[in-house]
C-alpha cells in the first residue's frame, strides 16, 4: 500500500472476507454446472475447428448433436470421444460434420469404453492446452526480446471500424503513435450470438467481429509493429457474451494478451442469464489464468447507468467480488485489470478531487493489480473541445493515482466510434500529460483529514455496508434487485439459460481437470 489514504487494514480485511462470503455460493454454483459454451470450448481445445456452409461452427453442431442424444449434464467430451472410437476416426472435426449430417449417434459409454473415452479426451484436450502454453511461452520470449512499455500506465487504445482490414492499419498507426495495448471492439450484436463467427470479417456494426482468424491477423500485425517499435504491443478482445469460454480459449490459442472478462457485465448490460454467466466466467478465467492473459473487469460500465458519486461503492464491491472470483479461478494479482472510471458529472463541485479519491481507493485496496482506468464517456458531449480537456484531466488522475492501464478517452466519445485522427489527438493528450506531469504524484498528498481522504474512507464504508447486506441475502438476489448499475436481473431470466445444465454425477470435463490440477 502506498498509504496516502490512511485506510484501516482491519476494514480492508473485513471487506475481503465479506466478498468471499458473498461470492462462495456463486462459485459453488459454477462448479456444479456446465454450459454449451463451456463444452464447445472443451471441443475447441480438443481440436474441432471450422464452420458449416452457413457459418455455424462445427463445435456448435457437434454439441447440439450430443445434447440431443444424451443431454448436456455429463459433459460432451466423453460421448464425443466415445463416438470417435466407435466410428474409428481420429479427426474430431470430421466427427462433427458427420454428426451434423445425422450419421453419428452419441451415447454414454460405461466401463472400459468410458475409461478409454475419458483418456482420449484428456489427451486431445491436453494437446490444446499445451498449444496455449506454447503461446504463453512465446509471449514471454517476445516481451523479453522487444521489451515492455517504458512507462506506467500502459496506454490502451480501441479500434472499431467493423472491418478487420481497416482496423489493422489503424491499430498499427496507433501503436506507432504510442499505444501499448490495442483492443478491437466487437460488433454490437456479437455477444448475443451463441456461436463464434468464422474467418476474416469486414461487416461489423460499431465494432469488428471477434473471430479466431481476426485474432490471428491482428496479432500478426501487432507482432510486426512490436518488432518495428522495439516494444511488445499487446492485443485485447472480449471474453464476454454467450461464448465467453470459447473466446477465452481462442484468445489463449492466438496469443491475445488481455481480455475483457467481468463477472457481471453480461448479466447487467447484455441481459444474459446470471447462472449462465457465472458458470462461463469461471471456466474462462481458468483458461485466462493458464494463458497468462490479463483480464479487464467492467465496473466502469455501472457508472454509465448509475451515478458515479452515489454508486461509487458499488464499484468497490464489484472489484472485491471480481478479485475473489479471479483468485478462485487461479488468476494471480498481476492478471487483475480491475476496472473503474472517471464518470462523475464534471459539473459536480470538486469533481476532480472526488475522482482522485475513488481512483486512489482502488489503487490502495488492490496494490498489486494493474488497475484499468476508464475515461469519461457518459458526460462527454458533442463539444469535442471540452471533451479533449476532460480526457486530459482523466489522464492526469491516472498519473496521480498510479493506475496500471489507461484506456485512452476520445474527444468524439459522444459522436462516433473513434476516427484515426481522434486516436492521434487522444494519444498526444496522453503523451503531454504523462510527459509533463508524470512525476507529479510525488507532490500529491491528500491532506490529512481533508476532502479526498474523507471521501475515500466514506466509499469504503458504504462498500462494507453493501457487502454486509449482500451477505445477508445472496449475490443473486442483490443482482436481481438492481444493486449494480441499477439494472435488475433475476436469476431465472435472461438469455442463454437454456444452455445451462447441472452436472450429472459422471460429469467429465478434461479441460477443467487439467486446469485445476495445475493450479
Amino acid at each position: 500500500m502506498t498509504g496516502k489514504l490512511d485506510l484501516d487494514p482491519v476494514l480492508v480485511a473485513r471487506a475481503r472476507e465479506l466478498a468471499r462470503r458473498a461470492g462462495q455460493p456463486v462459485v459453488d454454483l459454477a462448479r456444479s454446472h456446465t454450459t454449451v459454451s463451456v463444452e464447445r470450448a472443451v471441443l475447441r481445445l480438443a481440436g474441432v475447428s471450422g464452420a458449416d456452409p452457413d457459418g455455424i461452427p462445427w463445435v456448435n453442431r457437434l454439441v447440439e448433436a450430443v445434447v440431443a442424444d444424451v443431454g448436456l449434464g455429463h459433459g460432451v467430451a466423453v460421448p464425443v470421444f466415445d463416438a470417435l472410437a466407435r466410428e474409428g476416426i481420429t479427426d474430431v472435426t470430421l466427427l462433427a460434420q458427420k454428426a451434423a449430417a445425422g450419421s453419428v449417434r452419441f451415447a454414454l459409454p460405461t466401463g472400459r469404453a468410458a475409461t478409454a473415452a475419458r483418456s482420449a479426451a484428456r489427451r486431445a484436450v491436453g494437446a490444446g492446452i499445451r498449444r496455449i502454453d506454447r503461446r504463453r511461452a512465446e509471449r514471454d520470449r517476445l516481451i523479453k526480446r522487444h521489451g515492455d512499455p517504458k512507462q506506467r500506465p500502459w496506454i490502451y487504445l480501441i479500434v472499431a471500424t467493423g472491418d478487420i482490414y481497416e482496423d489493422i492499419p489503424q491499430a498499427q498507426a496507433a501503436a506507432r503513435a504510442g499505444a501499448d495495448v490495442i483492443a478491437v471492439i466487437r460488433s454490437t450484436g456479437q455477444s448475443l450470438l451463441d456461436y463464434v463467427p468464422e474467418g476474416a470479417t469486414r461487416e461489423g456494426f460499431a465494432g469488428t467481429y471477434a473471430t479466431q482468424e481476426n485474432f490471428r491477423l491482428m496479432r500478426a500485425a501487432l507482432d510486426e509493429s512490436s518488432k518495428e517499435l522495439g516494444r511488445y504491443v499487446r492485443l485485447t478482445n472480449y471474453a464476454s457474451g454467450l461464448c465467453m469460454p470459447e473466446m477465452a480459449t481462442l484468445a489463449g490459442l492466438e496469443r491475445l494478451d488481455m481480455m475483457l472478462n467481468d463477472s457481471m457485465y453480461g448479466i447487467l448490460f447484455r441481459d444474459i442469464n446470471p447462472i449462465r454467466t457465472f458458470v462461463d466466467q469461471r471456466f474462462s478465467r481458468q483458461v485466462h489464468a493458464r494463458a497468462g492473459i490479463i483480464i479487464n473487469t467492467g465496473e466502469d460500465n455501472y457508472l454509465t447507468t448509475a451515478d458515479a458519486v452515489d454508486e461509487a461503492h458499488t464499484v468497490t464491491v464489484s472489484q472485491l467480488l471480481n478479485e475473489f472470483f479471479a483468485h478462485e479461478a487461479g488468476l494471480a494479482d498481476w492478471q487483475l485489470g480491475l476496472g473503474h472510471a472517471f464518470e462523475i458529472n464534471p459539473e459536480v463541485p470538486e469533481s476532480f478531487r472526488l475522482e482522485l479519491a475513488h481512483a486512489l481507493l482502488a489503487r490502495e485496496l488492490f496494490p498489486d493489480a494493474p488497475l484499468k482506468w476508464m475515461p469519461p464517456t457518459k458526460h462527454m458531449t458533442g463539444d469535442v473541445f471540452r471533451g479533449n480537456l476532460l480526457d486530459g484531466f482523466f489522464n492526469l488522475a491516472g498519473a496521480l493515482t498510479g493506475q496500471g492501464i489507461l484506456l485512452v478517452g476520445m474527444m468524439t466519445e459522444a459522436v462516433v466510434t473513434p476516427w484515426l485522427s481522434d486516436r492521434d489527438i487522444a494519444l498526444q493528450n496522453v503523451r503531454y500529460v504523462l510527459g509533463a506531469a508524470g512525476g507529479l504524484h510525488e507532490d500529491f498528498v491528500p491532506a490529512p483529514g481533508g476532502f479526498i481522504r474523507r471521501r475515500a474512507n466514506q466509499v469504503l464504508g458504504e462498500a462494507l455496508d453493501l457487502l454486509e447486506r449482500i451477505g445477508e441475502q445472496t449475490l443473486l438476489t442483490a443482482i436481481a434487485e438492481g444493486t449494480f448499475g441499477i439494472m435488475k436481473r433475476p436469476a431465472d431470466r435472461g438469455k442463454g439459460l437454456a444452455g445451462v445444465a447441472a452436472h450429472e454425477a459422471d460429469y467429465c470435463n478434461p479441460a477443467t481437470d487439467i486446469l485445476e490440477a495445475a493450479a
Binding site: 467493423g162 454490437t188 484515426l420
Partner: protein, 249 residues
C-alpha cells in the same frame, strides 16, 4: 418582411469565419497541404488558412483549417420540425387521457436490434426521468411496457399487439454504418405488414443522431433527437392520439 440572411461569425459581423478539421489519406508534404486547401476551397472556404498539418501513421495527414466561408445562411429556408403541439404538464396529460380517451393509454418501448443503449429510452419511460422531469411511468393514465434492450422486431410487434399499444417508442443509439436507419426501416415495415393502417400504433423513434425531418423516409410518425424530455413525448402522444385525432375526425 425581408429574407433573413446571416453568415457565420468569428469576431465581426459578416466575417463568415469557420473552423474545419479532417484527415486525408495522403502522406504529409506540400502537396498534401495543397490538397487540404483545395478541399476547404471546395467547401466554400476562401481564403482558407491551413493552420495545422500532422502526419499520422503511414500515409495519412490530419489538418485544421480556418477561413471565411462564402455561403450565406437563409434563415427563412430552414427546415425544422417545430413543436406543433402544446406542451402539457403531467397533470394536464392525465386529465386529457382520462376525460377524452377514457382508458389508459398504452405505450410500449424498446431498444431494438442489437442496440443495448437503454439509458435514453429509460430516461423517457422510467419514473426517474431526466432533466428534472419524471418519465412516462409516472403518468397515472399511461400504461408503460418497457421491453428493454436488444429486442427483435418480431418480439416488438408481438408485444405491441399483446399490450394493445397506442404508441410504440423505439430507441436507436448506435449509428455506425447507419444501423439506426436500417433498424428503424425494418421496424416500420414490420408494423405495416402486421397491422392494417387504422389499427397500427403510433410509431415513434428517438436517439441522439436522428434527423427529425426524416419521418417519411423511415416510415414513422415522429422522430425525437438529442435532449428530448419525457414531457415533450407525453404531450405529443396526447396531441397525436387524442387532441388532433378527435379534431380531424
Amino acid at each position: 418582411m425581408s429574407r433573413q440572411i446571416v453568415r457565420p461569425y468569428g469576431d465581426t459581423t459578416g466575417d463568415g469565419m469557420v473552423q474545419v478539421s479532417f484527415t486525408l489519406p495522403v502522406a504529409h508534404d506540400k502537396r498534401a497541404e495543397g490538397a487540404a486547401v483545395q478541399l476547404a476551397n471546395r467547401m466554400g472556404i476562401d481564403p482558407a488558412m491551413l493552420v495545422h498539418a500532422k502526419p499520422m501513421g503511414d500515409g495519412f495527414t490530419f489538418f485544421v483549417v480556418y477561413g471565411r466561408v462564402n455561403h450565406l445562411v437563409d434563415l427563412d429556408a430552414v427546415q425544422v420540425v417545430e413543436r406543433d403541439f402544446p406542451l402539457l404538464s403531467a397533470k394536464e396529460v392525465n386529465t386529457v387521457v382520462k376525460q377524452r380517451l377514457r382508458r389508459k393509454l398504452s405505450v410500449v418501448g424498446a431498444c431494438i436490434g442489437t442496440d443495448a443503449h437503454t439509458v435514453g429510452i429509460d430516461a423517457i419511460l422510467n419514473v426517474k426521468g431526466i432533466a428534472g422531469e419524471k418519465g412516462l411511468e409516472y403518468y397515472r393514465e399511461l400504461k408503460v411496457t418497457n421491453l428493454g434492450a436488444q429486442v427483435s422486431v418480431p418480439e416488438l410487434v408481438e408485444a405491441a399487439r399483446a399490450e394493445k399499444a397506442d404508441a410504440v417508442l423505439v430507441s436507436q443509439v448506435v449509428t455506425q454504418r447507419d444501423a439506426h436507419l436500417h433498424n428503424t426501416r425494418e421496424m416500420s415495415a414490420a408494423f405495416r405488414e402486421a397491422m392494417p393502417a387504422g389499427r397500427r400504433p403510433l410509431l415513434i423513434v428517438g436517439g441522439p443522431r436522428f434527423d427529425e425531418t426524416m419521418t417519411d423516409e423511415l416510415g414513422v410518425d415522429r422522430i425525437f433527437g438529442r435532449g428530448t424530455t419525457p414531457g415533450e413525448v407525453a404531450s405529443y402522444l396526447v396531441h397525436a392520439l387524442i387532441t388532433q385525432r378527435k379534431a380531424t375526425t
